[in-house]
Amino acid sequence: MFGLGGAPQPSSQQKLSAAEAELDMVTGMFNQLVEQCHSKCINKDYYEGDVNKAEALCLDRCVSKYFETNVKVGEDMQKLGQSGQFMGRK
Protein backbone atom coordinates (compact mmCIF):
# COMPACT_ATOMS: atom_id res chain seq x y z
CA MET A 1 0.00 0.00 0.00
CA PHE A 2 2.81 2.44 0.70
CA GLY A 3 5.30 1.07 -1.79
CA LEU A 4 7.02 -1.16 0.73
CA GLY A 5 9.27 -3.96 -0.39
CA GLY A 6 12.79 -3.74 -1.55
CA ALA A 7 15.75 -6.11 -1.86
CA PRO A 8 16.57 -6.89 -5.53
CA GLN A 9 15.71 -10.62 -5.61
CA PRO A 10 13.51 -11.54 -2.63
CA SER A 11 12.67 -15.21 -2.02
CA SER A 12 9.14 -16.56 -2.30
CA GLN A 13 8.93 -16.68 1.48
CA GLN A 14 10.02 -13.06 1.83
CA LYS A 15 7.57 -11.89 -0.84
CA LEU A 16 4.72 -13.75 0.83
CA SER A 17 5.68 -12.37 4.23
CA ALA A 18 5.77 -8.85 2.82
CA ALA A 19 2.41 -9.33 1.11
CA GLU A 20 0.95 -10.73 4.31
CA ALA A 21 2.32 -7.84 6.37
CA GLU A 22 0.83 -5.43 3.86
CA LEU A 23 -2.55 -7.16 4.04
CA ASP A 24 -2.39 -7.04 7.84
CA MET A 25 -1.66 -3.34 7.71
CA VAL A 26 -4.56 -2.56 5.38
CA THR A 27 -6.90 -4.71 7.50
CA GLY A 28 -5.58 -3.13 10.69
CA MET A 29 -6.06 0.34 9.26
CA PHE A 30 -9.60 -0.54 8.20
CA ASN A 31 -10.41 -1.84 11.67
CA GLN A 32 -9.05 1.29 13.32
CA LEU A 33 -11.01 3.43 10.85
CA VAL A 34 -14.21 1.56 11.71
CA GLU A 35 -13.56 2.12 15.44
CA GLN A 36 -12.64 5.79 15.13
CA CYS A 37 -15.55 6.74 12.88
CA HIS A 38 -17.96 4.76 15.06
CA SER A 39 -16.82 6.69 18.10
CA LYS A 40 -16.89 10.06 16.27
CA CYS A 41 -20.19 9.69 14.34
CA ILE A 42 -22.52 7.03 15.73
CA ASN A 43 -25.11 7.81 18.40
CA LYS A 44 -24.89 5.10 21.06
CA ASP A 45 -28.47 5.41 22.33
CA TYR A 46 -29.55 2.85 19.71
CA TYR A 47 -33.10 4.14 19.13
CA GLU A 48 -32.89 2.65 15.67
CA GLY A 49 -30.92 -0.06 13.85
CA ASP A 50 -30.33 2.14 10.81
CA VAL A 51 -27.50 4.56 10.27
CA ASN A 52 -29.37 7.86 9.87
CA LYS A 53 -28.60 10.61 7.36
CA ALA A 54 -26.59 12.81 9.69
CA GLU A 55 -24.52 9.80 10.81
CA ALA A 56 -23.98 8.67 7.20
CA LEU A 57 -22.75 12.12 6.17
CA CYS A 58 -20.45 12.23 9.18
CA LEU A 59 -19.07 8.77 8.27
CA ASP A 60 -18.28 9.77 4.69
CA ARG A 61 -16.34 12.81 5.87
CA CYS A 62 -14.71 10.80 8.64
CA VAL A 63 -13.28 8.27 6.17
CA SER A 64 -12.08 11.06 3.91
CA LYS A 65 -10.34 12.87 6.77
CA TYR A 66 -8.84 9.61 8.03
CA PHE A 67 -7.16 8.99 4.69
CA GLU A 68 -5.88 12.56 4.62
CA THR A 69 -4.49 12.03 8.13
CA ASN A 70 -2.84 8.81 6.97
CA VAL A 71 -1.08 10.55 4.07
CA LYS A 72 -0.11 13.50 6.28
CA VAL A 73 1.44 11.28 8.98
CA GLY A 74 3.44 9.48 6.28
CA GLU A 75 4.77 12.77 4.90
CA ASP A 76 5.59 14.07 8.38
CA MET A 77 7.50 10.91 9.26
CA GLN A 78 9.56 11.19 6.09
CA LYS A 79 10.41 14.84 6.85
CA LEU A 80 11.36 14.00 10.43
CA GLY A 81 13.51 11.13 9.16
CA GLN A 82 15.30 13.32 6.60
CA SER A 83 15.85 16.22 9.00
CA GLY A 84 17.58 13.78 11.34
CA GLN A 85 15.44 15.02 14.22
CA PHE A 86 14.18 11.55 14.86
CA MET A 87 16.77 8.78 14.99
CA GLY A 88 14.55 5.75 14.54
CA ARG A 89 13.08 3.72 17.31
CA LYS A 90 15.48 0.80 17.26
Partner: protein
Protein backbone atom coordinates in the same frame (compact mmCIF):
# COMPACT_ATOMS: atom_id res chain seq x y z
CA UNK B 1 3.92 -5.06 -3.29
CA UNK B 2 6.45 -7.16 -5.18
CA UNK B 3 4.87 -9.07 -8.06
CA UNK B 4 3.81 -12.57 -7.03
CA UNK B 5 3.91 -15.46 -9.54
CA UNK B 6 0.96 -17.83 -9.97
CA UNK B 7 2.08 -20.32 -7.31
CA UNK B 8 2.76 -17.54 -4.85
CA UNK B 9 -0.63 -16.00 -5.61
CA UNK B 10 -2.31 -19.30 -4.75
CA UNK B 11 -0.45 -19.53 -1.46
CA UNK B 12 -1.33 -15.92 -0.75
CA UNK B 13 -4.99 -16.66 -1.53
CA UNK B 14 -4.95 -19.39 1.16
CA UNK B 15 -3.48 -16.94 3.67
CA UNK B 16 -6.19 -14.43 2.74
CA UNK B 17 -8.93 -17.03 3.28
CA UNK B 18 -7.60 -18.00 6.69
CA UNK B 19 -7.47 -14.36 7.65
CA UNK B 20 -11.03 -13.77 6.49
CA UNK B 21 -12.24 -16.55 8.77
CA UNK B 22 -10.35 -14.96 11.66
CA UNK B 23 -11.64 -11.52 10.70
CA UNK B 24 -15.21 -12.74 10.75
CA UNK B 25 -14.73 -14.30 14.19
CA UNK B 26 -13.12 -11.11 15.41
CA UNK B 27 -16.01 -9.04 14.03
CA UNK B 28 -18.45 -11.35 15.75
CA UNK B 29 -16.81 -11.27 19.16
CA UNK B 30 -16.22 -7.52 18.96
CA UNK B 31 -19.91 -7.07 18.18
CA UNK B 32 -20.81 -9.08 21.28
CA UNK B 33 -18.38 -7.11 23.42
CA UNK B 34 -19.38 -3.69 22.10
CA UNK B 35 -23.14 -4.23 22.37
CA UNK B 36 -22.78 -5.84 25.80
CA UNK B 37 -20.78 -2.83 26.94
CA UNK B 38 -23.25 -0.27 25.59
CA UNK B 39 -26.51 -2.07 26.38
CA UNK B 40 -26.13 -4.23 29.51
CA UNK B 41 -25.79 -2.43 32.81
CA UNK B 42 -28.29 -4.05 35.13
CA UNK B 43 -26.94 -6.94 37.19
CA UNK B 44 -29.92 -7.49 39.49
CA UNK B 45 -30.83 -10.58 37.45
CA UNK B 46 -29.02 -13.24 35.43
CA UNK B 47 -31.07 -12.74 32.27
CA UNK B 48 -31.28 -9.96 29.70
CA UNK B 49 -34.23 -7.57 30.16
CA UNK B 50 -36.50 -6.78 27.19
CA UNK B 51 -34.95 -3.34 26.95
CA UNK B 52 -31.40 -4.71 26.90
CA UNK B 53 -32.35 -7.30 24.32
CA UNK B 54 -33.81 -4.66 22.00
CA UNK B 55 -30.79 -2.45 22.47
CA UNK B 56 -28.45 -5.32 21.52
CA UNK B 57 -30.38 -6.00 18.29
CA UNK B 58 -30.23 -2.37 17.20
CA UNK B 59 -26.62 -2.08 18.27
CA UNK B 60 -25.46 -5.02 16.15
CA UNK B 61 -27.60 -4.07 13.14
CA UNK B 62 -26.31 -0.51 13.33
CA UNK B 63 -22.71 -1.60 13.67
CA UNK B 64 -22.94 -3.89 10.65
CA UNK B 65 -24.52 -1.17 8.52
CA UNK B 66 -21.94 1.27 9.82
CA UNK B 67 -19.01 -0.93 8.90
CA UNK B 68 -20.56 -1.70 5.51
CA UNK B 69 -20.71 2.02 4.70
CA UNK B 70 -17.21 2.65 6.01
CA UNK B 71 -16.01 -0.32 3.93
CA UNK B 72 -17.47 1.18 0.74
CA UNK B 73 -15.85 4.56 1.36
CA UNK B 74 -12.59 2.83 2.32
CA UNK B 75 -12.44 1.04 -1.02
CA UNK B 76 -13.17 4.23 -2.94
CA UNK B 77 -10.51 6.19 -1.08
CA UNK B 78 -8.03 3.34 -1.38
CA UNK B 79 -8.58 3.19 -5.15
CA UNK B 80 -8.02 6.96 -5.35
CA UNK B 81 -4.82 6.67 -3.30
CA UNK B 82 -3.50 3.89 -5.56
CA UNK B 83 -4.19 6.01 -8.67
CA UNK B 84 -2.33 8.96 -7.18
CA UNK B 85 0.63 6.78 -6.19
CA UNK B 86 0.89 5.38 -9.72
CA UNK B 87 0.87 8.88 -11.28
CA UNK B 88 3.93 9.86 -9.27
Amino acid sequence: MDQLNVKEQQEFQQIVEQKQMKDFMRLYSNLVSRCFEDCVNDFTSANLTTKESGCISKCSEKFLKHSERVGQRFQEQNALLMQNLQKQ
